[in-house]
Each structure stands twice: as C-alpha cells, then as structure tokens.
C-alpha cells in the first residue's frame, strides 16, 4: 500500500527523514511511533505529496508519488498535524465546502448532504448545530478533522495523531471506528505518541528516531515472550531456594524466573506446596521496545546537548556512530535482550519511565 525506498528529506541543514524504507501492506493497521521531531509528520507529508522528497522513492497503491499524487489521493483520507477549518463557518459548512472542492464532490444536493451527514455521524458529530468552528472544543475540532478524512470512503487512511485532544471515551470510540473500517478493508497508517493506542490498535509498528526508521515489525513479534516468567508468591524465600539460580530478580513477593514454560513452573511450585498469587509469561512491552530503539526526542533542545545529532551537515559522522549503537539492538527483535540484561534489572520491574511521553 505504501512503500518508500531510501526516502530522504532535508530542510536546509536539518535532515528530517533519512533513508527510510517503509512498507505498509494492504489491510495493515500500521502504527508509526517516535519521539518529537523524529520526522513522522514529514514522512507523512511526503507520502501525501505535500512535501517533496530530497531523494528516494515513494509508491502509494502502486503509483509513484509525487508524479501521480492526484490520482492516488482520491482514495486516501488524511489527517495531518491537527484538523483545519474555516473558523467563521460551521463544521457542516466546512465539510460541504471540502466535499464540493474536489473530485467526487458532485451528485444531487441530497447526495452531497448525505455524504456530509454520514461523515459527521461516523466521527461522532451528527448532533452538531450551526455554531461556527471557532466555538468548537479541541475534541470537536479533532472529530471534524476525522470526519473530513472519512468523507469519501478512502481505501487508505493516513492519520497523524488522530486522537490528539480526545478524552479516553473519545479515544476508545475512534479506536473502535478504525477497527471497523479496517475490518471492511481500509488500510490504516497512523502516527502517534500514545503507546497504548498503538499497542491496542495496530497490527504492525514502525519506530522512527531522528529521521531513521529504526524498527519495523509485526506487533505479535514485538510482544513476543522474553523467555521469563513472572511469579507473585507469598512464599518467595522458599521459591528462590527451590528454583536455585533460576530466579533472575527478586522484588519482595515478585520473582522473575528464567524459563519459557509458565505452566510447568506453576505445576512444579504447587507440587512443592508453594502458594501462588499470580503467574504469567513475561512479554516485551511496546514501551520497552520503543524506548530502547530511540534516543531522547530531538526537539529536546538542552543548552549543552549531550549528543549534537540532529544537525548533521558536516557532523554526519556523529549521527552515524550513534546509529551503530542503536540499530542492531533494535532490529534484532528476537525478544532475548531487552531491558532484562542482568546489568539493568530494576528496569525489568518498573517499566522504564524516560521522558518519551513528555
């Protein structure tokens, strides 16, 4: 559905997107994650023909972009960096204008009205009155943007932070809506900062860091078992003694045991008469994977930056060296070596809280 090859975009000295090879397949629910300023929006803009690439190729639905942008966009619905609207008009009037300005905007007056009403209903704005958009709340504007993206039954939805500004209820609604659309054959490509959103919705994830696509994997792969089992037991001391070295880490009543088979471990502990509160296979969390694959957001402009990586220019080497560190660990993706290496044990419990979501 979307394929890019060595896609690069430079804004002056800043390389916003660096040799990205993206592959979104038909029917995917693809989530693109990455810190602030990692180039997600720029990538989306290039895919949609708004921004022209410095080098590299883009294909959407098999058609080259930007050469055939207008044909491709007929079947694409998009929300890019927040909704847009004429503030002095009502939401309905905005959609009517948008509908009438492009291809497929014709039909009888009734057909046109129906299209607009249906899009509003889908986005949860069916009851909206004729107040101008400038009086809308943030969430209403966001829904209006979504309605605009849904106006013409797109085959591909490209959504840059679709749930920005929505309440938990709204986020849930949108997730259900996207799942329903996807079940009916719409491919979904979304950028987000919300790990939980991507984790719950997406079947595939990509992670960007400083312009590089550092990871692209199936969600099931990302959430693969780590080869460890988490046990909560009031008899922790006895369990440690019994398992004899099999316990990698202990935190009060919680144990981290090196084994792949939770059922077998459970049976063994119970056989020995140990009481067990909880036992489950440990999985990599998306958060761990993403945090590991990325550095701090490149728009964190500290006075004395630890890594002057964002501006490349003559400093390409700096960037290159850094990548050598991050890339292999990120793209191995086998589930063996996340944050659970003996050297970083506390992380295994706490779920790191670096400032990704700042």
């Amino acid at each position: 559905m979307i394929v890019t090859r060595a896609l690069t975009k430079r804004f002056g000295r800043i390389t916003a997107v660096h040799e990205v090879d993206l592959n979104v397949r038909e029917g995917d629910r693809y989530g693109l994650l990455g810190p602030n300023g990692s180039g997600k929006t720029t990538l989306v803009r290039m895919i949609l023909g708004l921004v022209y690439a410095t080098s590299g190729e883009i294909e959407v639905m098999g058609q080259p972009i930007p050469r055939r942008t207008n044909e491709v966009l007929r079947e694409v619905g998009a929300l890019v960096e927040g909704p847009g609207a004429y503030a002095h008009l009502s939401g309905r009037a905005n959609l009517t204008f948008l509908d009438a300005s492009g291809p497929g905007g014709g039909g009888s007056r009734k057909a046109r009205r129906l299209r607009v009403e249906e899009a509003l209903t889908r986005a949860g704005l069916s009851g909206v009155d004729d107040r101008p958009v400038k009086t809308y709340s943030l969430g209403m504007r966001q829904r209006l943007g979504l309605a605009a993206a849904l106006l013409h039954q797109p085959r591909l939805l490209v959504l840059d932070e679709p749930t920005n500004g929505l309440d938990p209820q709204g986020i849930r609604e949108i997730r259900d809506l996207l799942e329903e659309l996807n079940a009916n054959g719409t491919t979904i490509f979304l950028c987000s900062h919300l790990l939980s959103e991507v984790e719950q919705l997406c079947t595939r994830v990509g992670v960007m860091d400083r312009g590089h696509l550092v990871l692209e994997e199936e969600m099931s792969q990302v959430r693969s078992p780590t080869g460890r089992v988490v046990v909560h037991t009031p008899d922790a001391d006895r369990a440690v003694a019994l398992l004899d070295g099999g316990v990698e880490h202990r935190d009060g009543a919680r144990l981290l045991v090196r084994t792949a088979d939770a059922a077998e471990l459970n049976a063994r502990l119970v056989r020995e008469g140990l009481r067990i509160d909880e036992i489950h296979v440990q999985r990599r969390s998306l958060e761990d994977v993403v945090l590991e694959a990325t550095g701090p957001g490149s728009d964190r402009l500290d006075a004395e930056p630890a890594e002057p990586a964002e501006l490349d220019g003559p400093g390409v080497h700096v960037d290159g060296v850094r990548k050598v560190e991050t890339r292999p660990s990120a793209s191995t993706g086998t589930g063996t070596g996340t944050s659970l290496s003996p050297g970083s044990e506390p992380d295994a419990w706490q779920g790191t809280s670096r400032e990704f979501l700042e």
Partner: protein
C-alpha cells in the same frame, strides 16, 4: 472548485465590509458637496470633483479617482494576499490539496475569485456613486458651468450622456485591470508565506514605492516600467477625442505584470513544500 471559491468569497463578511467602505467614501464626499455646494476649483482637489456639481452622472469617475490611490489597492491586496496564505493560515491548504485539488487548479480558482472581487469592487463603486451622484446633483447641467446639454470633457468640449456612460464603462474596465496587477502581486507573495498579512503588506510596500518613484524626476529612467505608472491614464477617456496612447501602454504594462507574476506564482506554488 471555482464555484466553491466564489462561494467562500461571498460568505466572508470581510468582502462586504470592504465593499461598504469603498462605496462609503464617495458617498460621504457627495453628501458634503451636496449640502455645501462648495466645489473645489477646477484643477484642484480630486479629479472631476469640480465638474460633478453640474452633473451627477459624472460622479462615478470622481468616485473612482477617490478610491484609486489607496482604498481600492489596499482591499485588493488584502484579498489577493489572503488567497493562498489565508488557506495556509487556517490549516485548510493541506486539506484542499489532499482532497485532492491540484495545485494549479487551486491557483486558477483563487485567481478567478480575485478577479471577481476586483470587478465587483470597481463596479460597486461606480454603480453606487452613479446613484448617489444623480440623486444629489441631478442630471441637469448647471448653467453656470456648462450652459449646454453637454458635460464638459477634460479637453473642454462637451460629451453626451451616452458618451459619458460608455467612457465610465471603459474606466471601470481599465481600473479593474490595473487592480488585477496589484492582485497578482499579492497572490504571488501569498504563495511564499503562511501569513496573509505579510503578503498584503508586501504588495502595498511595492505599490507605495512605485507611487513615490512615479513622481520622482530622478527615477525617470525606470518610470515607464513601474506598476502604477499608467494608473491615472484613465483620465484620458474623458478627453475628446480619447487619448489612447497612455491607455494602451498601461494595458500592455499591466498585462506583462499580471502574466509574469502569475507564472511566477504558479512556478513557486507547484514546486514548494506545503508545511503549514
């Protein structure tokens, strides 16, 4: 797309406010003149004002002369500067392009809406001032000034009513076309910035510069090429016979400006990154 652009223009309160202001200035002047009947002596004050007390049907020409130096170019620059930059500012530019409206189509639609606004503005000023002129000054030639059935042309000979109407129509078209030059300049700047204000101000700065240089003898060498050089040539429509030389040059110069600016707008807009 063209229809929606025109609809947008019509639904903007700003369009009507600016038209009201444009038509308001001549109306105020007419009221003062009508009440006091003190006309500026011929050759002083705004063009034609000295003549209108005699016959209101010439008032449109006087009205256009009043709004031409400032009011009209300002409103046109504002609308022109808004065309692309305004869409970028409201965040709608990207959604229009994603709809998809081709970039060239969008630019053409904007140009048509701009032309419509320019013509609407000039015609509105002419029409309202005609109505006001006739209502306040009447169409009877004042004997003190003319003494015959004829309105005095700038050259001193008389013009019939039909001639006056025809020449006012020419004037409207000529001024409309001159304003399109300003509009094209604002549209061009509007493809560079996301701020409509910046585009409008840029166009006005260029205009003021041009108007200053036109009156500056030291700048004689560049004067024939200045945007505003032939703006006042429409006065020649009221000579008898019409003096076509400057009018023709003015039309040709404006055509060159409009053509070059539109081509440059297109070249820029079609190839630029839309990051608003």
């Amino acid at each position: 797309m063209i229809v929606t652009e025109l609809a947008k223009l019509v639904r903007r309160p700003r369009t009507w406010v600016s038209l009201a202001l444009l038509c308001g200035l001549p109306a105020i002047v007419a009221i003062f003149l009508g009440v006091t009947e003190v006309a500026p002596p011929p050759g002083e004050g705004p063009t034609f004002l000295s003549a209108v007390l005699s016959n209101g049907s010439l008032y449109p020409a006087a009205a256009l002369a009043m709004v031409l130096p400032l009011f009209l170019p300002v409103s046109v620059a504002v609308v022109g500067g808004d065309s692309i930059a305004g869409e970028a500012g409201s965040g709608m530019l990207r959604y229009l392009l994603l709809r998809p409206v081709g970039r060239t189509r969008l630019l053409v639609a904007k140009l048509i809406a701009l032309t419509a606004y320019v013509m609407l503005a000039v015609v509105a000023v002419a029409a309202t001032s005609y109505a006001i002129g006739v209502a306040i000054f009447g169409t009877e030639p004042a004997s003190a000034l003319a003494g015959s059935e004829l309105i005095t042309s700038v050259s001193g000979t008389g013009l019939s009513d039909v001639q006056v109407a025809l020449r006012i129509t020419y004037t409207v078209l000529y001024i409309g076309f001159s304003m399109l030059g300003v509009g094209a300049l604002a549209l061009f700047l509007s493809t560079f910035t996301d701020s409509p204000l910046a585009a409008a101000l840029g166009a006005l700065a260029a205009l003021v510069t041009s108007q200053v240089l036109v009156t500056l003898d030291a700048a004689a060498s560049v004067q024939p090429y200045l945007l505003t050089r032939y703006w006042l040539a429409w006065v020649d429509f009221f000579r008898d016979p019409i003096l076509w030389r400057d009018i023709e040059r003015g039309l040709a110069l404006q055509a060159v400006y409009v053509g070059v600016l539109l081509a440059a707008s297109w070249a820029n807009f079609a190839t630029r990154d839309v990051t608003s």
